[in-house]
Each structure stands twice: as structure tokens, then as C-alpha cells.
């Protein structure tokens, strides 16, 4: 039987291929994700290992708690005097001190800082270019001396920096001019994507980084025969309390910790989108298989009459599905390699360059990608498979026999359904509540519970009731996950994922009931939308296509044809290429293009749209499943768009609130809008003529109540420059924090039982601890607080934090915002290319621009699932055309033109797409509203523009999906179509 299944697949190549594409794309996404993240992982790993290659031990400053990246505070430094002590140790062969900074800007020839998205700008000292500790090699020039810099090859090439040239460099202080002494690269040849490297000699680096007399690290090499552990023990004995020592390899691991976190986040994030694409793909497969099976009724019946058992029929369907699953998964696996390259490009394009040292293809990638693809295909084929077993042998002799009932009818019943659903809910709920996805067993239990719940909902004799139960359970899971406190991120995500899945399933099922009215409703919309779009496309595509074809082989005088050809080429040169290929094909083969072609019109015939809309309604289940696939993609896109609109609206509101009734005119931030910048920049800005008041906001991590939290610090001028809503206290608090006062936000005060007058003990990264007094409690604006949980005065902050940095600075100027003030500020910041002055609206726009980059990535990733659903529509239409061959032949025979046939199919396609879009958009907004209701700092805002764009996109999806099936239908020869058996 298995052999026949494969033969069957081969005889339906097109249909099989269309079904498989859905899986191919999903698997490609999963495999691509693994390849991408593994590649980044490897690139980083080799860089970090490289950096520590020569070191047996590394001494560094020890922060009191783990610090994040770019948070405004750094680990305490070491004193330079430690270095000779280390060198004097008996087992130490060599030791060298270094300083570094991850905000060392190189200034390009255009006067702007060289930045690439969020990539770091690394600055460091090279005490001795020839030492074993130096991971770099010279490409050109010599190791840097005083006031010289060595630059990495990529940056040098990109910015046209040459050895001997003088360029600007800015770290903690203002810009300094230094000479480029060398172009360097890592000894291994690897590059950190987008990052810039700037190496200095030690004294220059110490001056630039404001670490004179200090060291960040001491690298140590042991004498021969001394083990790393021995060396570490020896060093530990002489270390001061705020320093630590690790072996070289340990240090490499610790260096990599942050990037590893980032990589696993990226991996989970991308895998989620692969999962979504596969989920959508499962709808496409289930639908395609169901249709194919309905069309093969007679084949199955014949097999039954010659002795095939139910189980053999089921087996052959499952084998077919498995073969498709295996082949599609293998194709997807390798397509993933291409996709990984594509993702590198995508991230690069949105300014988020990832390091790449060649693609890594792990066995794990193969196993997971194949397993996921095959499993999804298998699960999607179970129901259609059982449906095939319902074919009675008598269908072999009856004309037009249709499938009797559904396989579930045998066990269908409200009580059975309720029981199965309940068991599913209990099992799934238990699995998620007790051990959230930690072990394989609980993961399997959760999946089992979900499956049982879905199955139970499908068992209800009333389809509508089952759908309602599914939706209700889904929303219950969503609400539970969102609103029950202290569930932990994993559980919240699991509840939400399960909830969304159940809702999708329920909506998809109930849609079947709604299809007739939805299709009737959408028909005129589809007709006019297509008309409007075609009016736009007509002069660009259809008209030139017709003209070119007329020019190439139409009848008529040569002059007329040349004119048509030239006109067509001018209107759209792209189509010229297509017609050229057709012309060549005609010249080289016996192929004859269809001519005379109808002159392209745009107004859809009322009669054809009528038949098209009836066609969309005549098999509601089919239309519903096809639309459901698109619905999922659009629901997620809309969810994202609505959330983004909410975030933007809230943020705008928050900034306006803060700025209302205050004197601030300008804000200063880093060029990338979020990195903390040296306070020298704000100090320079304060010198600009016309500045009335300056308020800095410093930021960094501190520890309080055994938690690492974000703290901020403000200048006393905050009283005039921003307006806070106070729960307890007044604007005066801002001016009078002094050396021991703090204010806290409302939520933090509540969760730690703080009131005005309460003491609060803060531990800083350096390990220093001090107790402060709460002076006020404020109510942070919806849309985001400008402050951390705890805020102290800049004076108190600077006393505890070395090299403090500003997150942003607000400035009040005489004459408010005007051109001369803007120029004055810009001039004063000339030495700080990484800082920029902006007005309130610019500040809002800039802060939001980061979100747009993230949004664009999300849209591109979700587009994948929309593409999968597009193939779903193509597939359904192709199968439908195949099924209606005889009917289309009849329509042609009684006078329907080819164009009318195409219009008919197109109309059906657009209606399906519009139904999917309508359901998806509504669902997306509902889900977003639910999320926004949960998150305190978000307000709901309807993304009107985006929704209009999505609807147009859906119509375009419908149009594109119809192209191929419509052409096939139009090509059918009326006579053959009728004679078709």
C-alpha cells in the first residue's frame, strides 16, 4: 500500500507540491533560526575564546551584583599598583593591565559618530602589541603609540580610514583628534558584525576613558608547568576585596554570558514565528488533504470493493501525508540555510548587524526541524485520514457519491464532548500549573491536554457549541494567564499561547457557519476593491502586457504593431522582459500564445462575481479553513500593530504629561536614543548661550530588598523642568533630595511597604551600601516612567558611582524652541558627536523609531505565515478548479469567456481572503485589547492606517493567489472539460 501511496502522490505532483510548501516554509523558519543562532553563537564564542587565548588567569573588578549591558554603571576598577604585585608573584610569567570602554565613538569624515544599530563601539588599550595577551594582528601599520589609534579592518574600509590619517575619537570626554597608526583584525580573522574597534596605548586609553591610574583588567600568563588553578589560588591571596580572578577559559565564559542570553532570547523569539508558520501550515495541509480525499472518493471505494480494509485506507492516507511531511521537511531544512543568510541580511538591513563566521549546521537542527515538520504533517492528516475510511464501497458504483457524515459521528455527543474537553483541560491545566515546560513529561502532558481539549471541542454535536466552548476556554486561559498575579513569565506565555490557540480553533470552526452570510457581505466589497486596485494596476501591468503582445504577434500593419510595442515597453519595461521570453519561446518551439487576447478591462462582470461569490459559499467548511489560515497571520499582525499603536500613544501621552506645565524645551540623548552618554556632553550643552536650566537623568542598576533594580538620579532643577504626579509629596521633593533623600514610584512603594520617611538601603555596583530616606512617592504616567523605581539626587549618585552617565538631559532655554537656540545647542555639542539635541516632538519620534525597527522585523517574520496561507488559498483554488472541470467546461460551452472564468475564480479568492482578513483583524484587536487591559502603562489606540493597509494586503494576497488557478481554469478546453471523466 505504501508504494501505491507514493505513486498516487507522484501522479498529483502539483497538488502535492502546493500542500508541501506550507510545511517547507515553516520548517525552513525553524531550521533557519537554529542555523542563524548557532552561527552567531559560534562567532561570539570564537571571538571570546580568542580574546582570552593568551591568558591563564584574568583579574577584574568585582561588582556587588550582576550588571546588565550598557546600563550606565560598570564594575569597579582596579588600582594600577596591583599590577607590579601580580608580576612579582613566583608563578607569574607575564602580566599586563588594560582598560576598556564599550562607548568609544570613532568620528567619520562627515563629522558623525560611526554607529551601526545596537552594535557596541569598543575601545580598549593595547599595552604591548607583541604580547601573548593581544588577540589582534596587524593588517597594516604599527601598534599605536601616544595619541594614536588602531582600527579594525571593516570599519576602516567602510569609513575610508587610512593609516597616517587623523580622525576624531570620543569616549568619556570631548572629541580628541588622534592619528590612525594601524589597521588590525582578530588573529582568527573573525569580525563582530557592526561593532567598531579602537585600540590605544595604555596611557591614551586611560585618559580617554577617564581611568587614569586605574585598570579594568589584568591578564596573567603562568610560568611553564603551573596549572591555571594553582595560578588563580596564588593571585587570590593578594587581591583586594573588590577584585576577582578567574582562569582564562572561565573569563571567556563569563564574557559570553550576556551574548548567550541574547542569543537564546533571539532563538526563542524566531522559533515562535516558525511555530506560527507551521501552525498555519497545518491548517493548509489538513484542508488540502480533506479536499483531495473528497475528490478521491471513488478511488477509495474501489479499493474497498477489491478487499482493502478501513485500516489500509487510513494507512495509505497517512503514508502519503508522512511522505509529504518528510520530503517537505528535508527541503525546508536546507531552505533554512538560505533563510539564515536572509535573516542575517534582514537584521543588517534594519541596522542590527549580527556577527557571522560561517553557517553552523548542528545535528540538533536536523532533528528538531525534521521532527516538527513531520509531526505537524502527521497530526494534520489524522482527521482527513479517518474521513477517508468513511468512504463506503458502494461509492465505487454511484455517480457523484459524497462522503457520508464525519468519522467523529460515531462517538459524537454532548456528554462525551464535555467529558473529553474536561479531561483535556484538567491534564493541560495540571501540566502548565505544576511544572511549566521544565521537563519533557510536563511538556508532553501539556500538549496532550491541549489536543484532548481541541478534540473534545470538535466532538460537540453542535459545531457552534463546540466553537463557543473552545473560544470560552481560550479566553479563560488568556485572562487567567494575564490577570492572575505571580505566575512567572513562562507560565504566562504558556497560558497565553494555549489560549490563543484555542481561540483560533474555535473561531475557525464557527466560521463555517458564518461563511454564507460573510461571503454575501464580502462579495460587493471584493468587487469594488478589486475594481479600485485594478484601475491602479491597469496602466502599469495589464495594458502594457496587452500592447506588447499585440506588438509581438498580433495582427495588423507593422507600423501599428511597432507603436504598440514601444508604447508597452515605455509603460512597463519589466513586462517587456516577460513578453520577450514568450516571443523567444514562440520562435524556438511550436508553442502559440493565445491570440487574439481580450483587451484588458477592469470592471468585473456582475454575472461572474455572482457565480464566484456563490462558489465561495457552496462549500463553507472548505472556504472557512482556507480563510482561517490567513486569519491567524492577520490576527497576529494586527495584534502587533495595535500593541505598537498603544505603546506609541501611551508614550506620547507620558512625555506630554511630563512636559506639560514645565519649562523644558530640549532633550539630549545618545544618537541611538537609548545608550547612556558621558555627563561631559550635558556639561558642554549647559555652556550654550541662552541655557536657563539643565536637568540630567542618570541611570544604572542598584540592589535594594535583595533585588537588582533600575535607579535614576536627577538634578534639583527637575522641579521646574518636569511635572510629576505625586501620591505623597510635591514638586519640591525634586529640588530637595540632598545627599540622602530618594523618591520612589507608587508600585515599588506598595510592593515594599514604603511610605514617606521609610529608610531604604541601596547597594551600588562598587559594593558600597548606604541607607536613604524616602522623601516622596509619585504616580508614574501611563506609557512609561522617565525614572527607575528609586531616584536619588545626582549629587548623591555621583558620590557612589564612578564615571556616571546620563540617560537623557532636559534643557530650558530663553526664548524656548527656536532656530538660534537649536544652533547654539548643536554648536556646544560639537565635541560630542554621540549626543544630539532635540525638541519634544523630535524626542518622541526618536524614542519611537527604535520601536519601528522592532515592528518591521515582526512584520517581516509574520509575513511568512501570511505567505503560507497564500499558498493555502492557491491550493484550495487549484483543487476546486480541478473538481469543477466539468462545470467550468459547461460554463464555457454556454458562452462564458476566458476572462469571465478568470474573474469568477479571482472573485472567489478575494472573498476568501477578505473573510480571513476581517476575522483576523477583529481577533487581533480583541487580543490586543485584552493585553492592553492587563498592562498598566498602555492605553488602547486603534491602528487605523495599519488596518487599512492590512485589508489592502489581504486583497492583494487574494488576487495573487488567484492568478495561477484562474489561468488554469481559463485554459480548460470546453469540449475536453465536458468529456472529462
Amino acid at each position: 500500500m505504501g508504494r501505491f501511496a507514493v505513486r498516487g502522490l507522484l501522479s498529483r505532483k502539483l497538488r502535492t507540491a502546493l500542500t508541501a510548501i506550507a510545511i517547507v516554509l515553516g520548517v525552513a523558519m525553524i531550521s533557519g533560526t537554529f542555523v542563524l543562532t548557532d552561527s552567531i553563537d559560534q562567532a561570539f564564542d570564537s571571538i571570546f575564546t580568542d580574546i582570552r587565548k593568551g591568558s591563564n588567569a584574568v583579574i577584574s573588578g568585582k561588582s556587588a551584583f550582576d550588571l546588565g549591558d550598557q546600563t550606565g554603571v560598570s564594575a569597579p576598577t582596579l588600582s594600577e599598583s596591583l599590577l607590579p604585585e601580580v608580576r612579582a608573584l613566583p608563578d607569574v610569567a607575564e602580566a599586563e593591565g588594560s582598560v576598556d570602554s564599550d562607548a568609544t565613538q570613532l568620528i567619520g569624515d562627515d563629522g558623525k559618530a560611526v554607529v551601526s544599530g545596537g552594535a557596541p563601539n569598543l575601545g580598549f588599550s593595547i599595552a604591548n602589541g607583541d604580547s601573548v595577551f593581544n588577540p589582534l594582528t596587524l593588517v597594516e601599520g604599527d601598534w599605536p603609540g601616544p595619541n594614536e589609534v588602531a582600527i579594525d579592518k571593516e570599519t576602516a574600509a567602510k569609513e575610508d580610514f587610512e593609516v597616517g590619517e587623523t580622525i576624531g575619537v570620543q569616549a568619556e570626554g570631548p572629541v580628541e583628534r588622534v592619528r590612525v597608526s594601524a589597521i588590525v583584525q582578530f588573529s582568527s580573522g573573525l569580525t563582530i558584525g557592526g561593532a567598531t574597534l579602537a585600540g590605544f596605548d595604555l596611557p591614551t586609553a586611560q585618559r580617554l576613558f577617564k581611568k587614569v591610574g586605574q585598570l579594568d583588567e589584568i591578564a596573567v600568563a603562568a610560568k611553564p608547568g603551573v596549572t591555571d588553578a594553582q595560578l588563580v589560588r596564588e593571585i587570590e591571596a593578594i587581591l583586594p576585596s573588590h577584585a576577582q580572578v578567574r582562569t582564562g577559559s572561565e573569563q571567556a565564559v563569563s564574557d559570553a554570558a550576556d551574548t548567550n542570553d541574547f542569543i537564546s532570547f533571539l532563538r526563542g523569539f524566531l522559533l515562535a514565528f516558525g511555530g506560527i508558520a507551521l501552525f498555519v501550515g497545518s491548517f493548509v495541509i489538513a484542508n488540502s488533504l480533506s479536499i483531495t480525499i473528497a475528490q478521491r472518493t471513488r478511488e477509495f471505494a474501489t479499493l474497498r470493493t477489491i478487499g482493502a480494509t478501513n485500516r489500509q485506507i487510513l494507512g495509505s492516507v497517512m503514508v502519503e501525508a508522512l511522505v509529504v511531511g518528510v520530503v517537505a521537511s528535508i527541503v525546508g531544512l536546507f531552505l533554512g540555510l538560505l533563510l539564515a543568510e536572509g535573516l542575517f541580511e534582514l537584521f543588517d538591513a534594519v541596522g542590527f548587524t549580527l556577527p557571522n563566521s560561517g553557517l553552523v549546521f548542528e545535528p540538533r537542527t536536523v532533528v528538531v526541524a525534521l521532527a516538527a515538520g513531520i509531526l505537524v504533517t502527521f497530526l494534520a492528516s489524522v482527521y482527513p485520514g479517518f474521513r477517508a475510511t468513511m468512504v463506503p464501497p458502494i461509492a465505487a458504483v454511484r455517480e457523484g457519491a459524497s462522503l457520508p457524515g464525519e468519522p467523529l459521528d460515531r462517538i459524537r455527543g454532548t456528554s462525551v464532548a464535555a467529558l473529553v474537553t474536561a479531561v483535556g483541560v484538567v491534564v493541560g491545566g495540571f501540566a502548565i500549573t505544576t511544572t511549566p515546560g521544565n521537563t519533557l513529561v510536563s511538556a508532553l502532558l501539556a500538549v496532550l491536554g491541549l489536543m484532548l481539549t481541541l478534540f473534545g471541542c470538535a466532538l460537540f454535536p453542535s459545531r457552534t457549541l463546540g466553537a463557543i466552548v473552545s473560544c470560552a476556554l481560550g479566553f479563560a486561559a488568556l485572562v487567567y494567564g494575564l490577570f492572575v498575579p505571580d505566575l512567572g513569565t513562562t507560565r504566562v506565555l504558556l497560558w497565553m499561547g494555549v489560549g490563543v490557540l484555542l481561540v483560533f480553533f474555535g473561531v475557525a470552526r464557527v466560521t463555517t457557519r458564518l461563511i454564507p452570510s460573510l461571503a454575501a457581505f464580502m462579495s460587493p466589497i471584493a468587487r469594488w476593491a478589486v475594481f479600485a486596485l485594478l484601475v491602479l494596476f491597469w496602466p502599469l501591468f495589464t495594458l502594457p502586457y496587452w500592447l506588447l503582445r499585440y506588438g509581438a504577434w498580433g495582427p495588423g500593419a507593422a507600423g501599428k504593431r511597432v507603436l504598440a510595442f514601444v508604447g508597452g515597453s515605455l509603460l512597463n519595461p519589466l513586462i517587456f522582459g516577460i513578453v520577450l521570453v514568450m516571443w523567444l519561446r514562440r520562435a524556438l518551439t511550436r508553442w502559440e500564445p493565445e491570440w487574439p487576447a481580450e483587451f484588458p478591462g477592469v470592471i468585473p462582470d456582475r454575472s461572474t462575481t455572482r457565480v464566484g461569490s456563490e462558489n465561495a459559499r457552496r462549500n463553507p467548511q472548505r472556504t472557512a479553513s482556507t480563510a482561517a489560515a490567513l486569519m491567524i497571520g492577520l490576527a497576529l499582525v494586527t495584534l502587533v500593530a495595535t500593541l505598537a499603536a498603544g505603546i506609541i500613544a501611551s508614550f506620547e501621552g507620558a512625555v506630554n504629561d511630563l512636559w506639560k506645565d514645565s519649562d523644558s524645551d530640549y532633550a539630549i540623548t545618545a544618537q541611538n536614543n537609548f545608550s547612556p552618554i558621558p555627563i561631559d556632553a550635558a556639561n558642554a550643552a549647559a555652556q550654550a548661550p541662552g541655557v536657563v536650566a539643565v536637568m540630567n537623568v542618570r541611570t544604572g542598576e542598584v540592589r535594594a530588598f535583595d533585588e537588582t533594580i533600575f535607579a535614576t538620579a536627577v538634578d534639583p532643577t527637575a522641579r521646574e523642568l518636569i511635572a510629576l504626579k505625586w501620591k505623597d509629596g510635591s514638586q519640591e521633593v525634586l529640588a530637595n533630595l540632598g545627599s540622602d533623600g530618594v523618591f520612589v514610584d507608587d508600585g515599588y512603594a506598595k510592593s515594599n511597604d514604603l511610605a514617606v520617611g521609610s529608610p531604604i538601603e541601596l547597594t551600588f555596583a562598587s559594593g558600597v551600601t548606604q541607607t536613604y530616606v524616602v522623601n516622596g512617592i509619585f504616580d508614574p504616567p501611563t506609557g512609561g516612567s522617565p525614572f527607575g523605581n528609586v531616584t536619588l539626587s545626582t549629587e548623591a549618585w555621583d558620590a557612589k558611582v564612578a564615571n556616571p552617565r546620563n540617560l537623557y538631559t532636559f534643557i530650558a532655554m530663553k526664548g524656548d524652541v527656536n532656530d538660534s537656540n537649536t544652533r547654539a545647542l548643536e554648536k556646544s555639542l560639537a565635541a560630542f558627536p554621540n549626543a544630539k539635541a532635540q525638541t519634544r516632538q523630535e524626542f518622541i519620534d526618536n524614542q519611537i523609531s527604535g520601536l519601528s525597527a522592532v515592528l518591521n522585523i515582526l512584520y517581516v517574520l509574520l509575513a511568512l505565515s501570511v505567505i503560507v496561507s497564500l499558498f493555502g488559498i492557491v491550493n484550495t483554488l487549484v483543487l476546486t478548479v480541478f473538481e469543477r472541470t466539468r462545470e467550468i467546461g459547461m460554463l464555457r460551452a454556454i458562452g462564458m469567456t476566458r476572462r469571465q472564468v478568470r474573474q469568477m475564480i479571482r472573485h472567489e479568492s478575494v472573498i476568501t481572503a477578505l473573510i480571513g482578513a476581517a476575522l483576523g483583524i477583529v481577533l487581533g484587536i480583541v487580543l490586543a485589547a485584552l493585553l492592553i487591559a492587563r498592562v498598566d502603562f498602555l492605553v488602547f489606540s486603534f491602528p487605523t492606517t495599519q488596518v487599512i493597509v492590512f485589508v489592502i494586503a489581504a486583497i492583494v494576497v487574494g488576487l495573487i493567489a488567484a492568478i495561477f488557478p484562474a489561468r488554469r481554469a481559463a485554459k480548460l478546453d470546453p469540449l475536453q472539460a465536458i468529456a472529462y471523466e
Binding site: G8, T302, I306, G307, Q312, I394, A396, E981
Partner: protein, 247 residues
Amino acid sequence: MSESHDGAVVVAQDVTRRYGEGETAVDALRGVSVDIAPGKATAVMGPSGSGKSTLMHILAGLDKPTSGTVGIAGTEITTLGDNDLTKLRREHIGFVFQFFNLLPMLDAKENILLPLTIAGEKPDDGWLDQLVDDVGLKDRLSHRPAELSGGQQQRVAIARALISRPTVLFADEPTGNLDSATSAEILELLRRSVAEYGQTIVMVTHDSRAAAVAHRVLFLADGEIVRELGECDAHTIHTVMEELAAA
């Protein structure tokens, strides 16, 4: 089965079949009893709507009677479950259809061997060769159905029905989709299978020349057997059919 049906391989007693319920109910069969003798060809004839197809479907176990019993090779089939019925089909029943019902993706040989493949049995090579010779498909074995003429397709279908040496072969309008010359060849093939292999055949047809190859012709009208003829020529059968149509 009971002794009164000595040697019969298919026995039907008081078979009725009612489609639908209430006022719209249609009685396709109203108490038909029939014995099919082994090694003979039986033709079932009748005008459209006479119930001849329903009778064959019920005799072959494709459809269940509303009342009455049907036995094949001594097994009462109206009460059999799906699995037992399938097993019965493998051992005792062969089918030939009006529209051939070949699997398009398999070649002629694979189509012929399909019943054995499904049952997981090894083909008897001698029997296969003989069968292929007899149906005249020797040089067509590697062709797909789409590459065969209608007559050749029906030959494949007949070979497929005979390959498992079924107790009884049911043919549903076997010439209904063929021209008269091809029909004659197919009928000759069916006749020879009775004569040479002793194959039992039940054939539903409204082609009197087809019925003429049978040893026995049953005439149905309005769900009842109204006439029965022994071996006779096409003209006689045609006359009876005319009479029935006129009645």
C-alpha cells in the same frame, strides 16, 4: 445455507430495500428471492428504476437490505461487520464496473495484482500469465490506464476481478461505457471465463446482447422478479424487455 438451495453460491431470500422514510419512501426491492448457481453466468435485466442495480449491490454486500437475508458461499452477509465483509470480499467477490475504476497511477499489471497486494498475498505467476494471455494484455502490462483504450481498460478490470479466483464475480453494466464491437469482445471474455475457469458471474445490464451470454436471465420490474429465462438469444431477451417496458 439451508439444503433447499443446494450448491448455490449466492442466496437471497425475501430481500426488500426501502430508501428514505415516510411519504417520500421508495421501495427499490419488494421481496426478491434468488439463488445463483456456481459456474454459471446470471444476468439481471430490467428497465431503469426496476431495482436491478440495488439487487446487485445487496447481493455483493455493498448495500444492506431493509429486510431479508443474503448469503455468499454459505456466510450470512447482512449481519457481518465491516472487517468480516472486507475479508469476505477478498476471498469470494470480484467486481467489474461500468467505468472500469482503475487506479490511474498504477500500470496495467499493478492494477491487476492490486487485490492480492492489498490482501498481502503472493501472486501465482502461472495464473497471472494465463489470465493476461486470455484477456489479451500481454504487451500492454506496463501501460497506465490513460494509455489504454476503453476495451483494454475493461480487460484489465476483468483480469483484476479474476486474479483472486473469486467465488462470484459481480459485473455492473460491464459494457455500458463501450462501443458495440468492444462490447462483444468483453462479453466473449466473460463467457470464456465461465466456460474455461467455471467462474460464477452475476451481471447487471440493460444490453440484451450482454444478457445473451448468460445461462440464466432474471427480469426485474418495480422491485420484483417478473420473468426468468434460460439460455437464449439476444432477440428473445430484447422482446421480453420491450414487453416489460410497455407494461
